[in-house]
């Protein structure tokens, strides 16, 4: 896994502000299952998207997974959702009714409305900045945060390790044997080898960190100060405003239906 550096205006926003915005929008949209609130939120998000300063190609790469996934969520609702209203189409076990059609649309739009800010905000967050913010602003233990950050770098090495393990097993004459049983056995034994290798890499890394005085008794300082600046406050306010507009529009139109009722 490589951490792609995505420049753009969002890179300067504190990771915790981004987290708060994604959380507020996500939670609010989970409260109701109507299509109005989700659609309004999605439209507002789309209107704001050009201002994040990311090239369309980059955006497409980020968002492709949810754009592909959302219709599937809608489709399953369409086929298996609660029946109600007029019957639109019927075949075998499937009853598609007007209620399930509108629910399916609502679900599709909702997945997009929740997923879009989540993905864009997360993808523009540098893991180092996130670690700084978590440790300095939320005071999570440095040992844990920095350890996780260093481990994340190791993850990128695992794909290459796996490939070399496969090749070396073939070279050593133990990669034969057809049938699902042999393949599963091989997969687990190789998985175990990868685990061993990762632990070994991790222990070298831990030694290197320890040799640089990590985990000592001295209170740690932070070379990069994570600040929650006025613009981060503004950013969070904007996120809250977006959620409020979506809910208000939904309530006024009478479409709001509270899921917990």
């Amino acid at each position: 896994m490589t951490i792609t550096q995505t420049p753009g205006r969002l890179a300067g926003i504190n990771p915790l502000a981004k987290f708060l915005v994604a959380a507020v929008i996500g939670l609010v949209l989970l409260l109701s299952l109507d299509w109005v609130s989700a659609l309004i939120a999605l439209l507002l998000e789309l209107a704001l998207l050009p201002f994040v300063g990311l090239a369309p190609r980059v955006l497409w790469r980020m968002l492709a997974p949810i754009i592909i996934a959302a219709p599937f969520a809608g489709l399953s609702t369409l086929l298996f959702g609660r029946a109600g209203g007029d019957l639109v189409w019927q075949a075998g076990p499937w009853h598609i009714t007007s209620a399930s059609v509108s629910l399916a649309i609502a679900i599709t739009v909702r997945v997009l409305a929740i997923g879009l800010p989540g993905v864009v905000l997360f993808a523009t967050t540098d893991p180092t900045d996130l670690a700084d913010a978590l440790a300095q602003l939320w005071h999570l233990p440095a040992r844990f945060v920095i350890g996780a950050l260093a481990a994340l770098r190791m993850v990128s090495l695992m794909a290459e390790d796996w490939r070399m393990l496969s090749l070396s097993r073939r070279a050593r004459g133990v990669a034969d044997g057809q049938g699902p049983f042999a393949s599963i056995t091989r997969f687990f034994s190789q998985g175990f080898a990868l685990l061993v290798l990762s632990v070994r890499r991790g222990s070298v890394l831990a030694t290197a960190m320890e040799a640089r005085a990590f985990g000592g008794d001295i209170p740690r300082t932070w070379a990069r100060t994570s600040l929650f600046r006025p613009r981060d406050v503004l950013f969070v306010s904007a996120g809250i405003l977006l959620a409020v507009i979506a809910v208000a529009a939904s309530l006024l139109s009478g479409a709001w239906n509270f899921v917990i009722s």
Binding site: L149, R169, G173, L205, G216
Partner: protein, 520 residues
């Protein structure tokens, strides 16, 4: 006020009756070691492969866990136990890949300072200064992922320098580097030695790299005792014999390159290649960019074919492709009818895993990827056992009247039973016999390398593909390996070796293919 110099008072190092035994070993690594190193000394610590050099420096750096073994006596830095001397000692390890800690260059160098509680305002000047000292002039937010091995080692050194340690320890800093990387790190250490008063301890096999930089040479024997201790000149003139016996690489100018048989070009085995590569373009995957293109090679029996070139020129990828492990992007690797006899096709890539064993053996660049078992001896037996199973399968097949494939006489004949004698002989020759029951992962770097060579040799493949087979070897084990390769060559095996080791090329290579940097 910000102090911008790197200089700091050198640390005083002493070992007083220090003993150490790893929990998993019966023999102690050190017994009552006594040693004094004065502030500002620059020490080269030498010793045969497995003599405990890395253990000693890990102890000095305070990273030898008390739970890893049994300890007595004292290991002191400035009079305090080394474990409490965090930040006073900076350690650079031999593995460039696993000691990069953070994602950006500046952050990685700042890491040690943060842990020492240095105020942020003082950290960044230190970081810039340390990076300049090691000659890494990149922006601070450059990713650490795409640095070369030499650059990663210099980054680690910068991270250590920024802490302003009194003692800098380099544990085989050049072991995993190509000649360019070695020159880079040597240059960086020289600058550091000039600019600081820090005490310096360097562990290395490559004495020639450091000989004129150090002020003192300490030689350990294989039991962890001090064999010689003095100025480089004194040690060299009085101890040439024991040094050679202990396998120490002496400076090249004094010429102790072990005598090996000169390349004998022989056509006794015929000039028909066992493997032929035609218009071969290789890459790490068929979709990946080409690592090296349009190569035509013939791997001839009784010859050593060396593949050389800078890091990133596709040498390892070519080796894996020749060994029938990696699909080429275009072109083909074809086996001769003799080599392919008994296998399904003439294309090694399509062979079964066990069909490779007696035909093409591969020693990987990183031995750790290769190990499958819990002991050195079992590791060597993996190949023969897999063959044994095949022999059993084949006997079962032979009982059927319709499948009476004759065993090809040109394929190396192989007794069905696991050849215990051969395994012992291999372990003996590669100086691994005393480690037969040790876990492969507990071996030293040089020992792991020899074990991976032994595992490939155990099934006597006609073609041997070796990726950096001499990494981390002392002069003695190096000579042993080279003699073994020469013998295999003279027996008609074909050897392909990817290497940065000029001595190996000079001693063995009959054919040299130089790959140019592909610019990727």
């Amino acid at each position: 006020m910000i102090d911008n110099t790197v200089s700091t008072a050198g640390a005083h190092v002493s070992a007083r009756g220090w003993s150490w035994r790893y929990g998993s070993r019966s023999r102690p690594t050190f017994t009552a070691l006594d040693l004094e190193i004065l502030p500002g000394e620059r020490v080269l610590l030498l010793g045969a492969s497995g003599s405990g050099k890395s253990t000693l420096v890990a102890g000095l750096a305070g990273v030898l866990g008390a739970d890893e073994g049994h300890e007595s006596g004292d290991l002191l830095v400035d009079g305090a136990p080394s474990r409490t001397a965090r930040g006073r000692v900076g350690l650079v390890l031999q593995d460039p890949e696993n000691q990069v800690i953070l994602h950006r260059i500046g952050d990685d160098v700042a890491f040690g300072c943060e842990n020492l509680g240095i105020p942020p305002a003082q950290i960044w000047p230190r970081v810039t200064h340390a990076l300049a000292a090691v000659g890494l002039d990149f922006p601070l937010d450059r990713s650490t992922a795409h640095l070369s091995g030499g650059q990663k080692q210099r980054l680690a050194l910068a991270g250590v320098l920024a802490m302003r340690p009194g003692l800098i320890v380099l544990d085989e800093p050049t072991a995993n580097l190509d000649p360019d990387g070695v020159a880079e790190i040597r240059q960086a250490v020289e600058t550091v030695a000039r600019d600081t008063e820090a005490t310096l301890i360097i562990v290395e096999h490559r004495v020639d790299v450091w000989w004129d930089l150090v002020t003192r040479v300490i030689v350990l024997d294989s039991d962890g005792n001090i064999l010689r201790d003095g100025t480089p000149h004194a040690v060299l003139t009085t101890a040439r014999e024991p040094l050679t016996q202990a396998g120490i690489w002496l400076p090249r100018s004094t010429g102790n390159t072990p005598a090996t048989s000169p390349p004998v070009f022989t056509t006794a085995f015929g000039r028909d290649p066992l493997l032929t590569a035609t218009a071969l373009t290789v890459g790490r995957s068929p979709a990946a960019p080409a690592a090296a293109s349009d190569l035509t090679l013939g791997i001839v029996p009784g010859q050593v074919h060396a593949i050389v070139g800078p890091n990133g020129s596709g040498k390892s990828t070519l080796a894996l492709t020749l060994a029938g492990l990696l699909a080429p992007i275009s072109g083909a690797v074809t086996a001769s009818t003799g080599l392919a006899a008994g296998a399904r096709t003439a294309e090694p890539l399509r062979w079964r895993s066990r069909e490779l064993l007696t035909r093409i053996g591969m020693v990987f660049q990183s031995p750790e990827h290769q190990f499958l078992t819990g002991s050195v001896r079992d590791e060597v037996l993996v190949g023969p056992r897999a063959l044994d199973r095949r022999a059993l399968d084949r006997r079962a097949l032979d009982r059927r009247p319709f499948d009476r494939r004759p065993l090809d006489s040109r394929a190396p004949s192989r007794p069905p039973a696991v050849p215990d004698g051969r395994v012992d002989e291999l372990l003996e020759r590669l100086h691994l016999a005393h480690l037969a029951s040790a876990h492969p992962f507990t071996l030293s770097g040089g020992e792991k390398r020899r074990l991976s060579v032994a595992t490939a040799l155990a099934t006597a493949p006609r073609v041997l593909v070796l990726d950096e087979p001499t990494f981390g070897q002392d002069a003695r084990t190096w000579a042993e390996l080279v003699a073994l390769f020469a013998e295999l060559r003279n027996d008609g095996h074909a050897i392909v070796t990817v290497t940065h080791d000029e001595r190996l090329v000079n001693a063995l290579a009959d054919v040299v293919t130089t790959l140019a940097h592909s610019g990727i």
